[in-house]
């Protein structure tokens, strides 16, 4: 999920072969609700990765201190394995 307008980005998404939904929230309501917007004065959603189980509960998170924060796929897969994906 990003706060940038992806309404015209379908071509770019096709070119990189993204298989999962890329949601966007130009109103910034969702990242504000999650307290992940503009904490570092970038006017962007602050990078974060959440793992949510089938019951809708947060089971793991990695919160970045800027929009560049990333987590390795291996780390995320390990968390998914731990909850039985």
């Amino acid at each position: 999920m990003t706060t940038q307008d992806l309404g015209a980005a379908s071509g770019s998404i096709d070119s990189v072969g993204v298989q999962f939904p890329l949601a966007y929230d130009v109103t910034k309501v969702v990242p504000r609700q999650w307290e992940r917007f503009d904490n570092f004065k970038t006017e962007l959603a602050d990078a974060a990765v959440y793992v949510i189980d089938k019951d809708g509960r947060l089971v793991w998170q990695s919160l970045g201190d800027n929009y560049r924060h990333q987590v390795s796929a291996t780390t995320v897969l390990k968390q998914l394995d731990s909850i039985g994906s």
Partner: protein, 174 residues
């Protein structure tokens, strides 16, 4: 709910003969907590419509990107009918079923019969369910429904009881 004063809210209620509660939030505390106040930089609450389930959780929401962007009555009735297990086609022609104009704000009437439970709003309970603030491990996370780059929409609740979800807040680079 508006950020109008009590006299202004009462005047509007009387002018349009509204039968449902008209709330005012003159100190903007509620609209600020919901992340709506001054969202559009106009010193007002952004237009926003929430459909809230009987358990207090949000079924769907639309936050307008301008002061005139609001859902039609028909689209709201379809959501409410779905919640109530009704066939939305049965609502055609009912009062309040128009697609624009003043009827969009007049959500009371015969078309709402049988759906009162689905639209009961309990302001004191809702903020707890929306869980404003960073969710902690073990918390139920707030649902959302957002457009996607492919032109459809996605919500967290689509995956409930089916799949675990990895949710990433990111900056796009293209």
């Amino acid at each position: 709910m508006s950020v109008d004063s009590a006299p202004d809210a009462l005047a509007m209620k009387n002018e349009y003969g509204l039968e449902f509660p008209v709330l005012y939030d003159a100190d903007t505390s509620v609209t600020t907590e919901w992340g709506l106040f001054d969202l559009l930089g106009d010193g007002l609450s952004a237009p926003a419509t929430f459909v809230i389930r009987t358990d207090g959780s949000i079924e769907t929401q639309l936050v307008g990107s301008n002061i005139g962007e609001r859902p039609s009555t028909n689209s709201l009735l379809e959501v409410l009918a779905s919640l109530a297990g009704m066939d939305s086609s049965s609502l055609n022609g009912q009062p309040g079923g128009g697609s624009g104009g003043e009827s969009d704000t007049a959500m009371s009437g015969d078309a709402m019969d049988g759906m009162e439970d689905a639209v009961t709003v309990q302001p004191t309970a809702v903020p707890e369910v929306i869980s404003i603030g960073s969710p902690a491990i073990g918390d139920l996370v707030p649902d959302f429904n957002l457009p996607t780059a492919r032109g459809d929409s996605v919500s967290l609740s689509e995956y409930a009881e089916d799949r675990n979800v990895v949710l990433v807040f990111f900056r796009a680079w293209w």
